[in-house]
Symmetry: C2
Subunit: 137 residues, 2 copies
């Protein structure tokens, strides 16, 4: 059975899906990711699907499950690198990947995760002064 | 033909090899990487081989060629994530991957690239004071 590697980069886990997702591979990836989130304490998961020609309902469901499991473990998931043709086919099939955040590429995904993490902290410390609003006279 | 995606993260290009490298795939990867180095101006390439069970002489040669091509384009290559069993087999086969730098995982690879980049800048500005060599009496 092939296994999709999970790479840790700073506070983010990166998964690049390149092989066809079969039942076992998908389950293994879900388990691996959940375990790595717990072990590393990472708060972000980026799934790159730029190598995929086809995203069918099974892959869509797998991505949704990964996003939900990650969320329960306090990590946010962003799917990146979707090809234009894949996006068109998905919508034609009536699959709009609900509950999954997307970004154009890994870098924008990392930015998106960093921003939403910042927002979270800002909500936590609302009484503290926000450096962005402190203006010098 | 399958294609290995090249992901850009900051100043680094990341490649996660998960599929069997055949002639065409290897050539395509070399081309893609060279092109991305030129287009993005990245100075580091990280190749993750944690998904590979076997690294034979062909894969070894491919990695060496990628490293050489990258070097010519002013980018440094680090191979990361080699499994212990792969390392043992490589040495038993007499393949010690000459000219290829390795690191245990992606994070350490990124650190290695950042450090050698710093060293390079330090060499460039040798007349400037180097904080590492300034010793207090």
């Amino acid at each position: 059975m092939e296994r999709v590697p999970v790479l840790k980069i700073g506070d983010i886990l990166l998964v690049s899906i390149q092989i066809d997702m079969e039942d076992q591979t998908a389950l293994q990836l879900q388990e691996d990711l959940a375990e790595r989130i717990v072990v590393t304490g990472c708060h972000g998961v980026i799934i790159d699907i730029s190598a995929l020609d086809i995203v069918d309902s099974f892959v869509g469901r797998t991505l949704a499950t990964i996003a939900s499991v990650s969320r329960v473990l306090d990590a946010e998931t962003v799917v990146v690198g979707m090809r234009p043709a894949v996006a068109i086919t998905l919508v034609e099939l009536g699959l709009s990947l609900p509950g999954i955040r997307t970004a154009l590429n890994v870098e924008l995904g990392i930015e998106m995760l960093a921003r939403s993490r910042e927002d979270e902290y800002a909500d936590d410390d609302e009484d503290e002064a926000d450096p962005a609003t402190v203006t010098t006279p």
